[in-house]
């Protein structure tokens, strides 16, 4: 795995210069360099924000891009994934919940059937047919 290290300004300048040459840009095209790098970085951040890993695949195997910012984006995403454990109801939702709990409950036939099946010791799982043959 590759991990970025804190780098001095001089090292960063060298790196930027190398990137400029690598992207085929002239010395006076710093703005274009910035634009290209921003677009590349935005793509990486977008992947991390959506929970995807960024992988470099080659003949020598697969390396995952690891960076503190990516770790932080993952943590934020994880928190968002678990935030639903606390449901905050607005006033309309609160009124609806009150109606539901006040109204009395007439279970629909499907629920009655499900409850009956849950109490049945002979209850069986469905037998499945897979539409794709690959495993």
């Amino acid at each position: 795995m590759s991990r970025f290290q804190a780098q001095s300004n001089a090292v960063l300048d060298d790196e930027l210069e190398e990137l400029r040459r690598g992207l085929g840009l002239r010395d006076n095209q710093k703005a274009d360099l910035l634009r290209e790098l921003t677009s590349l970085a935005a793509w990486v951040v977008r992947q991390a924000t959506e929970g995807r890993a960024v992988l470099a695949r080659g003949d020598d195997g697969v390396q995952e891009l690891v960076h503190p910012v990516i770790d932080r984006l993952r943590r934020i995403r994880d928190q968002a994934a678990t935030a639903s454990r606390r449901f905050e109801l607005n006033d309309d939702e609160t009124r609806r919940l009150a109606e539901i709990l006040d109204r009395g409950f007439a279970p629909p036939p499907a629920l009655v059937e499900s409850l009956r099946r849950l109490g049945d010791p002979e209850r069986r799982a469905p037998e499945l047919t897979w539409t794709d043959a690959s495993v």
């Binding site: 929970g51 994880d78 994934a81 678990t82 639903s84 454990r85 606390r86 449901f87 905050e88 109801l89 607005n90 006033d91 309309d92 939702e93 609160t94 009124r95 609806r96 919940l97 009150a98 539901i100 709990l101 006040d102 009395g104 409950f105 279970p107 629909p108 499907a110 629920l111 499900s114 409850l115 099946r117 849950l118 799982a125 469905p126 037998e127 499945l128 047919t129 897979w130 539409t131 794709d132 495993v135």
Partner: protein
Amino acid sequence: MASLRIEVLERKHRPLLKAFRNQAPSLVEYLHRYALRHAERDLLARTYLAIDADGDTDRIAGYFSLTTVSVERSSAHELPGLSKLPRFPIPGVLLARLAVDQSVQGQGLGRYLFEEALGLSLQLATAGPIAFRLFVTDAIDEEAVRFYEHFGLQRLSDACPARMVLDIKPLTEGSP
């Protein structure tokens, strides 16, 4: 002959996770990346796998995740006509996710998994060490809303994902 069993997600299931496919990327991603971590490291949710065994080959046909939820009001001001509502926060069990592999959809597995999740929740409500009032889910789209409405859950919001609830109390009355 194929046979299906329900197992709590553990580390030993890791090799099976990647083959799971579903039309909703978030449901696939949760199983691939977060379910095991939430179950074993963070203790945020427990995931149950429907494993279909055909000979020596195991495949994950579906899964659901359960966790606790606290239903609260976003504002503190009083609303008229809510005297019968329990005091907030109202505790519940959250069916956080339920998904069926796209290769075995339409064969009754979604219903079977829903029943499993409901059955576990009712066991907890009747014989567990805690009390709670609501069985809750966030239906991901209108198709999911219709699925849960079929089983008596009622939506609290018109938007999707739609918060949906089932009052557990009438289902447990008469239980010891």
